[in-house]
């Protein structure tokens, strides 16, 4: 009978694990839906900033702006976006893989490296690595990041780039392609890229106040900000959807395990009963002789 007791307690423990993973799956699913909506929300902002920039390009040399300055890369800043919590499948390890590979490449090329981390998992990782200098760590970002968090990160990246302290700024994040496909990747945000293909509406009589330089400053900042913000939103949506899938798999595994254990327990109980019956009938037989 000891066997069945043991199995019973194992089934109980797996069941309670399943309860937790199931709850986490539901929470992640509802958060993912909201985060997924949010990834689309900043599109008009980016679009408007692009159009403004195209308009500006007809009046002034956009590429001479310091944020567009292409310099030979001697040192670069990486903004690594991971999650605060684990149990999100391969979410954090995918980011880690890319980050470590980039660091190695920089090391080989003799490029100095600085890092800003977003999320506790990223800061824990970066703190252990020797190849990089961590200049900022942001943790516990709200589920719906707003301009406030963004500006803090953006401003420190921008001021370092403008000062010539770093020659490039890259973001390592997880791109949210769909709720089943997410891809960890590196995106360059500074020097800013400019898409010449966008045709501006010709308007020569537009007044720029206080001047084209200031407006260009404002627009470029917004455009770079929008890119970074999109990366934050995508990373958020990816995290939730990967956590949802991971927890769904865990729940399914727990269910399978419970089925197997239940079968085994029933078998053990049946064989115990058969054993007992055999003993009883054996005893009766012995008495009647």
């Amino acid at each position: 009978m000891a066997g069945t007791q043991l199995l019973k307690s194992r089934i109980r423990s797996v069941k309670s694990t399943r309860q937790i993973t199931k709850a986490m799956q539901l929470v992640a699913a509802s958060k993912m839906r909201r985060a997924q909506e949010a990834t689309k929300a900043s599109a008009p902002y980016t679009e408007a900033a692009r159009e403004l920039l195209a308009g500006l390009a007809t009046r002034t040399s956009v590429k001479s702006h310091p944020l567009f300055a292409q310099r030979p890369v001697k040192s670069r800043l990486m903004i690594v976006i991971a999650s605060d919590k684990g149990l999100a499948g391969a979410y954090n390890s995918n980011i880690t893989k890319i980050y470590v590979a980039e660091l190695k490449a920089d090391d080989k090329a003799g490029i100095k490296n600085k890092t800003i981390t977003v999320g506790r998992k990223a800061s824990q990782l970066a703190a252990r690595l020797k190849d990089t200098e961590v200049i900022g760590a942001y943790e516990e970002l709200p589920d719906q990041p707003d301009g406030n968090e963004l500006r803090a990160i953006l401003d420190s990246a921008k001021s370092r780039f403008m000062a010539g302290e770093v020659d490039a700024v890259d973001v390592i994040y997880t791109d949210f392609i769909s709720s089943i496909t997410q891809e960890a990747k590196v995106m360059r945000v500074l020097p800013a890229g400019f898409d010449d293909t966008l045709q501006p509406t010709p308007s020569n009589d537009v007044t720029y106040e206080p001047g084209t330089t200031e407006v260009l400053d404002g627009v470029t900042y917004r455009l770079v900000g929008a890119q970074l913000f999109q990366a934050l939103l995508d990373a958020r949506a990816s995290e939730h959807s990967m956590r949802m899938i991971a927890m769904k798999n865990a729940s399914d595994n727990a269910s399978d395990l419970i089925d197997d254990l239940t079968l085994e327990m029933n078998k053990a109980r049946q064989s115990a009963i058969t054993q007992e019956l055999a003993e009883i009938s054996g005893g009766v037989e012995a008495l009647s002789e």
Binding site: A137, G147, S156, E209, P210
Partner: protein, 140 residues
């Protein structure tokens, strides 16, 4: 004149209006229909929107905006800002408390990240308080 107030989190306003007042780097401006084409840099402050001609000052709606860009042409205004909080959503006491917290945070900050963060918060809540003040004025 058509107004589009675009923020990072989506489009806050997308409708016909009569007048918009906004703080810019070259001083506060008010835009009415038929304004000459203009692109200007918006600074953090209070944005006021009058929906219909003849609406009294009390009927204006206020938004606390962060920095951005304002684009004006004859028939439309496009305001591109990181954030725009509707005046009705701002609770004065809360903003005041948040501002005090931010000021305290700045004096206690140990590293650049904390200082940057505190500065952000101070700017933000100062603007919010300003907008809340305008709203109180509107009610009284």
């Amino acid at each position: 004149m058509h107004l589009q107030l675009i923020t990072l989190t989506g489009i806050a306003i997308d409708q016909e209006i009569y007048e918009i007042s906004a703080p810019t780097a070259a001083g506060p401006i008010s835009v009415f229909p038929g304004h000459e084409p203009l692109v200007s840099v918006a600074i953090p402050g209070a944005l006021a929107v009058r929906y219909k001609k003849g609406d009294p000052d009390d009927a204006r709606e206020f938004f606390a905006i962060s920095g951005g860009v304002i684009e004006v042409n004859q028939t439309a205004v496009r305001v591109l800002v990181d954030e725009a909080d509707h005046g009705d959503d701002i609770i004065e006491a809360e903003s005041q408390a948040a501002l005090d917290r931010a000021l305290k945070l700045k004096t206690e900050a140990k590293n650049q990240v904390d200082i940057d963060h505190a500065k952000e918060l101070i700017d933000r809540h100062t603007v919010r308080l300003q907008v809340a003040g305008l709203r109180r004025h509107k009610r009284s």
